[in-house]
Symmetry: C5
C-alpha cells in the first residue's frame, strides 16, 4: 500500500478530487492525504508539504485555470513549480489541470474535468506499479479529458 497525495483548490469550479478519489478507492487500498489551497499557484508548495510532511508516494494535483492569457501565465508558473517539486523529491506528480477555454459550455468543462480526473487516477495507480506498466500503451495516443486519438496509422 502506498500513500497518494491530493492537492486541490477552492478556485476550481468542479470538485475534481472527489472523482479521482472514487476511482482510487474502487481500485486500490492506498491511503490518501488531501491538501486544499486557494489557487493554482499554491499547488506546488502543497505538493512539497504532502511529500515531506505527509510522506506521500505520488501526488495528483487538481487545478483549474481561467480563460485569459494571464491565466495561462499562472498555470505556467504552477506547472514549473510542480516540475521543481517532482525533481527535488524524485516522485511523480500527475498534473490534472483544466483550462476554462477548453470548452464553451460549462457542462462540457464539467465532463472534461471528470474524465481527466478519473483517467489520471488510473494513471497514478499504474505508475505506482512499475515504470513499464504503461509501456504497452506507449505511442497509442491516449487522452485524458476527451476520447483517445489512437496511433497514427500508415
Amino acid at each position: 500500500m502506498a500513500k497518494i497525495g491530493i492537492a486541490d483548490t477552492t478556485f476550481a469550479r468542479v470538485n475534481m478530487a472527489d472523482f479521482a478519489l472514487g476511482i482510487i478507492k474502487k481500485n486500490s487500498r492506498h491511503k490518501i492525504e488531501r491538501y486544499t489551497v486557494p489557487g493554482i499557484k499554491d499547488i506546488p508548495i502543497a505538493c512539497k508539504l504532502l511529500f515531506e510532511k505527509y510522506k506521500c508516494d505520488i501526488i495528483m494535483a487538481f487545478g483549474m485555470a481561467g480563460p485569459k492569457e494571464i491565466d495561462k501565465q499562472c498555470s505556467h508558473e504552477a506547472s514549473l513549480g510542480i516540475q521543481i517539486v517532482q525533481l527535488t523529491e524524485k516522485k511523480h506528480i500527475l498534473e490534472v489541470f483544466v483550462h476554462m477555454d477548453e470548452a464553451k459550455k460549462e457542462n462540457e468543462i464539467y465532463q472534461i474535468a471528470k474524465n481527466r480526473a478519473e483517467k489520471h487516477a488510473l494513471n497514478a495507480l499504474a505508475l505506482l506499479q512499475s515504470k513499464t506498466a504503461l509501456t504497452k500503451f506507449a505511442g497509442t495516443g491516449r487522452r485524458q479529458g476527451k476520447e483517445d486519438e489512437g496511433s497514427i496509422k500508415i
Copy 2:
C-alpha cells in the same frame, strides 16, 4: 500564535497590506513583520528574508503590475521567484497581485485590490490552521478580487 510576513511595494498604487492587516488583527493574534521594497521583482528576496531572518511562518505578497506586456513579464519573473522561495523554505506565500488592466477605472482597481487583500488574509489564516481547513470549499469557484463564481451545476 504564528508570525505573518507582509511584503509590499512602493510601486503599487493602493496600500493593500493595510487592508490585510485589518483583517488579520480583527481575526487573530498573530504577529506581523513587514518588508517594503520598490517593485514587484524585489518581492521574492523580501519574502526570502522574511522567512530566514525574521522567522515568518507564512507570507502575504502584495504587488501591482502595469497594463503592458512587459509588465506581465515582470510579474511572471516575480511569481517564479515566489515559487522558488516557497519550495526552498517549505512555507506558503500567498501572492496578492493586481494587474492594472483588470479594470478600466481606477476606482475599480481599488475595489479589486481591497477585496483581494482581505479575502486572501482570511485564506492565510485558514492555511495556518490545517491543510484541510479549506477542503470544504474545494471546487466551489471562490474568487479573490471579485464575486465568487461558484461550482458548475449540471
Copy 3:
C-alpha cells in the same frame, strides 16, 4: 557498454522509442531501460528516476505535443524540467519531441517522428563515444526529422 534510458509517453501517437531501439540494437550492445509515462510533462521525473534509480548513462526522451498554443507551453515546461535533470545529473538527455503542427498530414508526422527518433539514436551513440565525436559535423546544418540543410555556402 553503457546503459541508455528511454522515456516515452502514452499521449504520443507514434511509438518513437521502438524506432530508436532498432537503431541502438543494430549499432551497439548498450543496455536499455524504458520508462513510459502519460504525457510530456511527466518525462522529466521519469528521466530523473532513470538516472538515479536505474543508473542510465544517457537518456532519449520521446514526446509529442499537440498543435495549440497551450501545448507549446506544456512542451516548454517539459523542456525546462529536462534541462534541470541534465544539469543536476551531469548527463545528456536527447530531447526527441514532435509537434503536431510540424506537418498537416498524419503520414508526414509519422515520417518526421521516425526520422527524428532514428537520427537522434545515432547522436546518442556518438555522445557516448566522446565530446568530439560530432565535431567533424559542427556547423554543417544537420537536421533530425527532415533533410539536412547543410552549411551556408558563400
Copy 4:
C-alpha cells in the same frame, strides 16, 4: 558602511552606472565594486561574483534591452538569473533595466535611464537601512524612469 556592487554592460547606450555612482557618493560613504560585462545576459553571473568574490552587500544591475521581441526574451532570461542570484545569496539586486522601446526619441531614453538609475540608487540606500525604510511610501505609486503616479484616490 556597506559595499555596493555595480554590474553594467558595454551593450547599453547610456552609462547608467555613473549616474547612480553620483547619487551614492553624494549621499553615503559606501564602498563600490564595479563589474562590466558585454550584455544583459552576462549580468547575473557578474552579480554572483560581486557577492561571492567581492563581498558586496547589495547590487545595482544596469542593463539596456533592444526594442524587438527577442530582446524581451533576453531581458527575461537575465531577470530570471537575477532572481536566482538574489535567492541563493539572500541579498537584494536592484534591477535597473531600460527597454529601447520605452520611448521613440533617443533623448527620452537617455532621460529615462538617468532618472531610473538615480532613483534606484536612493532605493538601494534605503534598503541598506532597514526593511521598513520604504514602508512610509508603500502603495504610493512611485516610479523610476518617469514621474510618480501616486496613490489611487477614491
Copy 5:
C-alpha cells in the same frame, strides 16, 4: 594561461567556433576544450561538463536557432540552462547565438555569425583579464554581429 571551453552544434549552418578559435589563438596562449552536440538545447549540459570534467575557466557557447516561434522557445530553454550553469559553476559563459531570422539572405547570416563569434572571442579574453577590463566601454552601445550603435548623444 586559462582554459577556454567551446560548445557548439551540428545544427548550426556556420562553423562559428572556428572563427572564435582564430581570434583566441592569435591573441592569447589559452588552452582550448571543444564539445560538439546536436542542437542548441544540448549546449547547457555540454557547458556543465566542460566546466566540471574538463576544468574550463570560461566558455563560449555557439548556437543557431531557426526562424520560427518554436525555435525561439528552444533558444530560450537553452539560455535558461546556460544561466543555471553559470550560476552554479560561478564562471562566465558567453552565449553566441544567431537566429535565422536576423537577416533574409544566407550570406548576411554568415557575416553576422562570423562577426559575433570574433567579437565575443575578444570579450572572453577581456573577461579573463579582470572585472573592469570592459569598464572603459560601459554604456557605449557595443554590438556583436553588426556595427556598434555607440552612446546616445544629447
